[in-house]
Amino acid sequence: MSSDTATGAGAQSGRKNRNFDVQRDLPDEVRLANAMDGFVAEFGPTAASYMNACVRCGLCAEACQFYLATGDEKYTPIHKIKPFEEAYNLTEGPFAWLYRAIGRAPELSIDELQDWEELIYDSCNMCGRCTLACPMGIDIAGLVQEARHGMYMAGLLPDRLAYIVSKAEKLHSPFGSPEDFRKTVRKVEKDYGVAMPIDREKADVLLTATAEELEHHPLAMATIARVLNHLGLDWTYSSEAFEATNFGYLSGNSELQGELTVRLIDKAREIGASMLIIPECGHAWGATRWEAARWYGAPVDDVRVRHIVEVLGEAVRDGKLKCEKVNESITYHDPCQQIRRGGLEWAPRAIIRELGMELRELDPHGVEAFCCGGGGGVLANERAAPLRQKVFENIKKPEVEATGAKHFATSCNICELTLGKDIKASGWDKQIESLIDLVGTHMITDEPPLRPGKPG
């Protein structure tokens, strides 16, 4: 843990037993000002329209898994940005000049912000289910992202997330250095017998990885490499720009978010790549595919950002990738950033069809599916684990059980890791599988098949 953090002590306020962490040594007034500045820093007409549209109907609560699993009204999505909303209206809103004229100032306090840390970081996956539910169409997930920027600027985010962010700032990946990356890739290459080029000077495709994959999921890396080789793509990893997960996006550190995205796009341009492939992580794809233009001030048209599920889905759809038929039932968890916020609902279903599996859909599924509970940095935030577990027990576990499917799979490694932890803690006799791994172990090639946990 970084030395400039203090855990949940409420050191400056004297209040105790609350779920908040503090970073950096700042006076309360500075924290408050930073929080507000950070919240509105990137405001445009979209966020402003949201701030002026809420009718307080509370229906967003009916879409939020944290509210549904606990029944606690504090988890109502729009409530999660309450301190920022009040301050926005009084300092930046359409009638801020009037409030100033009559001497009405924001009553936002540091205690209030600290209380809200749990709501903004521990109990929101930024999954966007509340956006679908809101009669006014307010993208509350987007507002929570702005609120996280404010909280980051105030030095009020979970310590675990702050620690990972500090590692990403220093090394660009919490996984480690370029040398650590090269060693790991070489090991996977050797273990699985799959060619995995690194640091080629020119290539058509730049492939990225996630720290989670590098630490826990070598089979997914081997599968992706084998598929790209099978498709005849001219690709490479880069040890200088390998990390796809954007901890700037998750934590609210916009500066880091921009740096990490630009690092990937610039590297792709440097090697002449026209395609940048993001592995399983959903938020990584969202931060790169949908937000890269923000850092360049224009759409990134020369580098096509693609998610691996999109690449695989297209390959099976076009008949370029064939799989052995599994002939067993499967249920699929829709990762929210790939499906609801990403438009890739078709891709995993095309892959499942190619695998010859009987898909038993969860209820709800597709764009309406519930999040795994770990997205949006919640998995990395250890103190949120008990709440996350409650969500799993009350929502996802019964959903999966109701299908009676033999296999339970997903296409996001954060969802997989989250659900795997929750399944273990629950003592449930079920396993979460990776759709990518299923492709890897069943794809038809001239090479020996890949085997989970037992390299070919």
Binding site: V40, F43, G44, P45, T46, A47, A48, S49, Y50, N52, A53, C54, V55, R56, C57, G58, L59, A61, E62, A63, Y67, E73, K74, T76, I78, H79, G93, P94, F95, L98, G128, R129, T131, L132, A133, C134, P135, M136, G137, I138, D139, R289, W290, A293, R294, Y296, G297, A298, P299, V300, D301, R340, R341, G342, G343, L344, E345, P364, V367, E368
Partner: protein, 216 residues
């Protein structure tokens, strides 16, 4: 100048002016806030996404149809809004007012029984939602004083409108008109502005989803 003449003359013009000027100011402020972010190359149509969300959200999302609260809010919301629009646009005194003071033409007003039915729907919806605002823990937590003031003012405007329907008492008409003017002055500064901001928020979310090839 009598009180009713003041209410019908200068006060009406002032309150209508405040409503228009500050309402437009609020909308302009929203549209001119900050800077527009560059957008990613679209995977789908932002325009179609906007249209789909603007109209699609008139019905409750399948994500929340499991809840009886959703149906209560939806039905009471429609009851209130449709009843209110019927009263606003088709009550005989309103049609006459719009014809004589604003538009120069009119249309067939609601018969008395129609007015009563519309008023019943509007009152039932408003009171049910207001009561829920006070009783439901979620809505109680997120409600601001403004939400209660807006509901209260709207209720009083509707109530005094019913009293003034027969147009037999200048006093009752004056009270109704005075409350309408207060409501108009309060409107641009309050959550009542959702009457004009809803297409913006729905449309912008829908455009974002449309760009991504999904829906909001």
């Amino acid at each position: 100048m009598s009180a009713i003449e003041i209410l019908e003359g200068p006060l009406w013009k002032i309150s209508a002016g405040i409503f228009v000027v500050f309402g437009l100011w609020r909308l302009a402020h929203i549209l001119m806030t900050g800077r527009r972010r560059a957008k990613a190359r679209p995977a789908g149509s932002p325009a179609l996404g906007a249209v789909r969300t603007i109209f699609g959200h008139f019905l409750p999302s399948p994500t929340i149809t499991h809840s009886s609260k959703t149906w209560f809010v939806t039905l009471m919301g429609y009851s209130f809004h449709l009843g209110l629009f019927a009263l606003l646009l088709f009550a005989a005194p309103h049609v006459a007012f719009l014809k004589n003071q604003v538009l120069g033409f009119g249309w067939t007003p609601l018969p008395r029984w129609g007015f009563i039915v519309a008023a019943e729907f509007a009152f039932a919806g408003l009171l049910a939602l207001w009561l829920r605002r006070m009783l439901d823990p979620v809505v109680r937590l997120i409600s601001r004083p403004d939400d209660h003031i807006a509901s209260g003012l709207t209720f009083l405007v509707m109530l005094t409108g019913c009293f003034a329907l027969g147009e037999q008492s200048v006093v009752l008409r004056g009270i109704h008109l005075g409350l309408v003017e207060l409501w108009l002055v309060y409107f641009p500064f309050s959550s009542l502005m959702h009457s004009f901001t809803w297409p913006l928020s729905r449309g912008l979310s829908g455009a974002m989803a449309g760009r991504r090839g999904t829906r909001a």
